[in-house]
């Protein structure tokens, strides 16, 4: 057993045994240590110019999300408008990174985002449980891509993962990646169901080895969703993967991130774990819905010097 991840073996996914050997050879994660590192970073105090930069950056990395059974075309249309112009009173306010919807609403989003530069992201693979036959999941992906999705947020098979069938998880991601064609693939680990940080690290590596463009914490449908320490472990994974000669892979924290304070803590985590290279919407995302308005109110406070209120941001 060795800590070093300086090289990824060429045959890493040649068999269940080879993949298991590799994953279980990754260094362990001490839960208490990871928690306390994340908690220490959460005490960073972001003020004045740094806060302005961070709030605007937070807005630009948001995947503005609606994933409800009650979603309609109207709801998605409103969300697209909000994403393109978060603060109608201020033209300097940046746009969000993407609008994230269910596959059947991709076309609507595509239509209303034309010319904005905002990406259309769609969850797929029988989100959020992923409990469907593989052909069904692949069809789900292809439909979303065909409807114009730029990005696909898939869920891994947590059942297979937890019962140690790592190669099955890997193969499924490989197939989904193929079905994505040119669309970017975000792989949701659903860390709230993985139970340990060791599992988060292993699942991150499976996803990266299988071709993920992003690894994402959560569906937002399971509690806990994104947490700082889980995101820390995933950031360490993408850092180590690149160090080991792999690609640069992005990280998306999703679910439960509602306040500016939360968002800034995630940016601090990125800043101090992987640095500048990940501090852009190409490599880091926050999946959220209500967060945006809190960021806007904080932004107005910085600009005007007084506190804002919910009546001064739009609710769609």
């Amino acid at each position: 057993m060795t800590l070093t991840t300086s090289a990824i073996p060429a045959d890493v996914a040649s068999s269940d045994a080879a993949l298991r050997r590799f994953l279980h050879g990754l260094p362990g994660v001490d839960q208490v240590g990871a928690d306390s590192r994340a908690a220490a970073l959460a005490t960073r105090s972001i003020k004045t110019t740094a806060k302005r930069w961070a709030i605007d950056t937070a807005i630009t990395v948001i995947d503005l999300t609606t994933l409800e059974g009650q979603d309609t075309e109207g709801k998605v249309r409103a969300l697209c408008a909000k994403g393109a112009r978060p603060d109608p009173t201020d033209a300097t306010c940046p746009k969000v990174a993407a609008i994230c919807v269910y596959p059947d609403l991709v076309a609507t989003a595509r239509e209303h985002l034309r010319g904005t530069g905002i990406k259309v992201a769609s969850v797929a693979t029988n989100f959020p449980s992923g409990r469907a036959a593989l052909p069904v999941k692949l069809a789900d992906v292809r439909a979303a891509v065909a409807a114009g999705a730029d990005e696909i947020d898939m869920v891994i098979d947590r059942g297979a993962f937890l019962s140690g069938r790592y190669l099955e998880v890997y193969d499924e991601i490989v197939q989904v990646k193929a079905a994505c064609d040119t669309a970017h693939l975000k792989v949701i680990l659903e860390t709230g169901e993985l139970a340990t940080y060791d599992n988060v690290r292993r699942a991150s590596w499976i996803a990266m080895l299988a071709g993920a463009d992003f690894i994402k914490t959560s569906t937002g449908k399971v509690s806990p969703a994104a947490t700082l320490p889980v995101t820390l472990v995933m950031l360490e994974a993408v850092r180590d993967f690149r160090e080991a000669g792999g690609r640069q892979v992005g990280v998306k924290a999703a679910g439960g991130i509602r306040t500016t304070k939360d968002a800034l803590r995630y940016l601090v985590l990125v800043n101090e774990t992987v640095g500048d290279d990940w501090l852009s919407p190409d490599w880091f995302r926050l999946g959220a819905s209500s967060l945006l308005n809190d960021l806007l109110m904080q932004r107005q406070k910085l600009l005007t010097g007084h506190y804002s209120g919910p009546d001064y941001v739009t609710i769609d």
Partner: protein
């Protein structure tokens, strides 16, 4: 057949170092008399080099003795008590001769019982001197007593067996090894005790016994950098202070009883066990 015509075979009293009985490397000896100033024997007059050799023996025995299970140490010490009991009459005679007392049986019985008492402590010290610590965080935190190391013991000058047993047994029950300077004027029970130790299951070097001049040998032990603690019980006040100053050089643990003339028959309490253990605290996170 008459015993009266038979000349008895005398014992040669030697040092006890590393489980063996060498003469002093200096080749010196001194006369030991009984309480009536009659010659009894020539005892070895240990030198600084004997002290040095004794420390080497104690240090090399430390690893095995200190890591033996407490249960095992208790068994070994109890075995010593069994052997003491077997030599009871000899000890009674020696103590009576050395100390000029008539209730030798009483003292020897107390000494054997003292040894048994400390034998039983070996696997209970951790209960009483250790702790589990409720720290405010996700950590398992516990403190355990561990033996200090090599302990130099200046045995009581008056109480040649009960006092001697009362200072040696707590030190080794806790897992230390010892270099003992026996009572200068009454060393013979210490040598006989050494014979008991040598024929019990106690590994060689756990207890080493030097006879000779306390004031000559003890400064070498007090200043020895590989001795971890010193028991000054048998050192006269002025000597004890000098030794304490020398012991400060490597910050030895120093045990100097409050009472210069202790009642060895009294309940010894825990102080001698506490004096020669270190407390080690270990932390480990609690996580999944």
């Amino acid at each position: 057949m008459s015993d009266r015509t038979r000349l008895d075979v005398r014992k040669t009293y030697k040092l006890f170092i590393g489980g063996a009985f060498p003469r002093s490397e200096s080749g010196r000896s001194y006369q030991v008399t009984d309480s009536g100033a009659n010659f009894i024997a020539n005892a070895a007059l240990a030198s600084r080099k004997d002290a040095r050799d004794a420390v080497v023996a104690a240090r090399s025995a430390f690893k095995k003795w200190s890591t033996a299970s407490a249960y095992n140490r208790g068994q070994v010490l109890y075995r010593v008590a069994e052997m003491l009991e077997g030599r009871r009459d000899q000890f009674v005679a020696e103590v009576a001769s050395a100390e000029g007392i008539h209730n030798g049986e009483h003292v020897v019985d107390a000494a054997i019982d003292r040894w048994v008492w400390y034998a039983g402590w070996s696997d209970k010290i951790a209960h009483v001197l250790g702790s589990s610590n409720s720290v405010a965080g996700p950590y398992f935190d516990f403190s355990i007593p561990e033996p200090t190391g090599v302990v130099a013991i200046i045995a009581p000058q008056e109480s040649s067996l009960l006092g001697l047993v009362s200072v040696i047994s707590p030190v080794i029950a806790a897992g230390n090894t010892a270099v003992v300077i026996a009572s200068e004027k009454r060393p013979l029970p210490a040598i006989t005790l050494s014979e008991v130790l040598a024929t019990s299951d106690l590994p060689g070097g756990v207890v080493n016994v030097l006879t000779g001049k306390t004031s000559e040998i003890s400064p070498w032990l007090a200043s020895h950098a590989d001795v971890n603690a010193i028991d000054l019980t048998g050192a006269a006040p002025e000597l004890a202070t000098q030794l304490q100053i020398a012991a400060a050089e490597n910050l030895k643990r120093v045990y100097r009883p409050d009472d210069d003339n202790p009642d060895w028959l009294a309940d010894p309490g825990l102080s001698r066990l506490q004096a020669f253990v270190e407390t080690k605290t270990v932390w480990h996170p609690i996580g999944v």
